[in-house]
């Protein structure tokens, strides 16, 4: 029970919510949400021919945003798990914020996913007709269940009489998010048709991606909400989060490498690997420049090189880059994989009026991007409103005076 006294003396307060800045932020987010909804409405009325999607690239930019948000939602709960499951009570004051963001990001991601359906008006059908062999069907339960589990977890944390149950609730949420992200990764992992999928590593890859993206978003929201509301953030907690982020970024790079090495070992996958890594045009560029360099290598330097290691600006930059790299990674996974032609006749040149045998073209359309940004804005809007209504934020995070460097333990990294 380390830092037990710190845990019990935490005081939470709602955001004041009176400032011009708060209302301006609300207005900006609400505007983005409205524009995103209008974009979705436009796509639904016109039909999807006004988007970048085709019969060849069937999941486009909205899926990139939706999967990013859903994956990050699972990972952002890690901060709460660290205190509830792994007993790292330095994180305890941040557990409420972590749980709130996990719910709001999931809601934002799901809304984008639903609004990009061909028939979003049939949501009730998706809720009432199930094919239990479909991972999508499992995911509907996993997503709704996650929201319920985290809501209960939050209740246990908020209600003093229920505090003693917050540990089992947190443990349930911890298990649930692993299952949930396994489900999200398996959407791709279980697809036998496409060369870039059909890989069991997708599930653990998505789990480690969730931890990386979630921690990056958490850091940014933490710093913004605390700085803008005059709450101090101790260097100790930032250092812990920074080290965690670094470990997760390195782990994503490692899992990405293993994924490609596994594919490269199988000769039948050489063509798709060549496409993704060497001559895939925009996808190769996005992979190397945005995903690997900007989203992996540069953040690691910013987080761990001594000349950058202590600066909050470099921490913020690293977190932003991890988010950009994360979106790039999901772009390559979802769209790059579809751009590569299906291999139906090995050893043959194939051509048809249906774009067989050629690299499929895709360009994100404005409505698709606006819908995706609207989803991010909705996630943040929900969080900003919730912070105003309920005491999610502690008066301070971390210790008032800097302490010696607190390296994350293996348990933290595993969480």
């Amino acid at each position: 029970m380390e830092h037990d006294t710190a845990m019990t003396s935490v005081r939470y307060q709602t955001l004041d919510g009176q400032s011009v800045g708060y209302w301006a932020l609300l207005a900006l987010l609400a505007l983005l949400v409205a524009v995103g909804y209008a974009a979705a409405h436009y796509m639904e009325v016109q039909g999807h021919h006004v988007t970048g999607m085709t019969n060849q690239i069937v999941w486009g930019t909205p899926h990139v945003f939706a999967v990013f948000l859903i994956v990050a939602a699972s990972g952002i709960l890690n901060v709460a798990s660290l205190s509830s499951v792994f007993g790292k009570y330095d994180y305890k004051p941040l557990a409420r914020l972590s749980a709130l963001l996990s719910m709001s990001l999931l809601v934002g991601g799901l809304i984008v996913l639903v609004l990009d359906l061909g028939r979003p008006d049939r949501l009730i059908v998706a809720m009432t007709y199930y094919n239990f062999k479909s991972i999508f069907a499992w995911n509907i339960f996993l997503y709704i269940g996650f929201l319920l589990v985290v809501a209960v977890y939050l209740w246990m944390m908020f209600e003093p009489r229920m505090n003693r149950y917050s540990k089992p609730a947190g443990f349930t949420a911890f298990i649930w998010r692993f299952v949930l992200t396994t489900g999200t990764g398996s959407i791709f992992g279980f697809l036998v048709a496409r060369q870039a999928y059909d890989a069991a590593i997708m599930a653990p890859l998505f789990i480690i991606m969730s931890l990386s993206f979630g921690t990056a978003i958490f850091l940014l929201v933490l710093l913004a909400s605390f700085d803008w509301s005059g709450r101090p953030v101790g260097d100790d907690i930032l250092r812990r989060l920074k080290n965690l982020l670094g470990i997760f970024v390195a782990a994503v790079l490692y899992m990405t490498m293993v994924y490609h090495l596994t594919n490269l070992y199988a000769t039948e996958h050489h063509a798709v690997e060549r496409f993704l890594l060497v001559d895939g045009g925009v996808y190769t560029l996005v992979f190397w420049l945005l995903q690997i360099l900007a989203g992996g290598v540069v953040p690691l330097v910013l987080l761990f090189a001594p000349q950058f290691g202590q600066s909050r600006a470099s921490l913020v930059t690293a977190a932003v880059l991890v988010i950009v790299g994360g979106l790039a990674q999901i772009y390559v996974i979802i769209i790059g994989a579809q751009a590569f032609p299906l291999m139906m006749f090995p050893g043959m040149e194939v051509s048809s009026t249906f774009y067989d045998g050629v690299v499929n073209e895709y360009a994100p359309s404005v409505p698709e991007i606006l819908l995706g940004l609207g989803g991010i804005a909705l996630s943040l809007l929900v969080a900003v409103v919730a912070m105003r209504v309920l005491p999610f934020l502690p008066e301070r995070a971390g210790k008032p005076t800097p302490v010696s460097a607190a390296e994350p333990t293996p348990a933290e990294a595993a969480g």
Binding site: H48, W59, G118, Y130, K133, F136, L191, A193, S352, F354
Partner: protein, 251 residues
Amino acid sequence: MPATKRGTQINENRRRWLGGAGAAATVLTLAPGVRLLDLALARSEEEPVSERVRWGMLVDSTKCAQGCTDCVDACSDEHGLTGMGRPQTDAQYIRKLDLKDKTTGKAYSLPLMCQHCETPPCVDVCPTGASFRRADGIVLVDKHICIGCRYCMMACPYKARSFVHEDLTSQVPETPRGKGTVESCNFCVHRVDRDREPACVEACAQAGHNALVFGDLNDADGALARKLEELPSRQIREDLGLNTGVRYHGV
């Protein structure tokens, strides 16, 4: 169970049309030795489609003429696929593929459509069960419960499915379609249930090519099974073990 239930629903929908034919069939089968109707109509109208039949097709690539698109045109006419002049988003239930062996340079021509797998990946992944396989092997989309998620399109190894990208104005009664839902070759199920061949098969025969043979894979004496016995054939992406209903010869 779901396949049987759906089969019953489909049967009920067709009841009115089949009424006359069913009554005639009942009378005809009363006479010993008279069997004018094959298995497809041997069942009564109350009976769901049966697993005794597995509809399938053999594509004889050696007879498929390069540049000929009669099967594709017939399909478009049959299902009202007029197209919007946007090839990337226009629906295609069947398409002609031109293949060239990279080593020998030999050219092949063949049509590709839904392969009506015995274990279809599209049916596995569909969250609502809109993608389903009828007991007689025809893979269909229930347009009433398709939510347009396109997971089936991601899962299909043959890219056999199309998404309706816009409002439609050219629908035909036999092929209900809908904006925002997914569709694909249905083996002209409305014809098959009336003991007719799919439109592509008919068109290919009319053109004198006879590259497409349609029939019951389970009927050892049927035209399809006999042809499959006579000619070596293969399945596309046989490695996936999907046991497709469409087989190919000569490629």
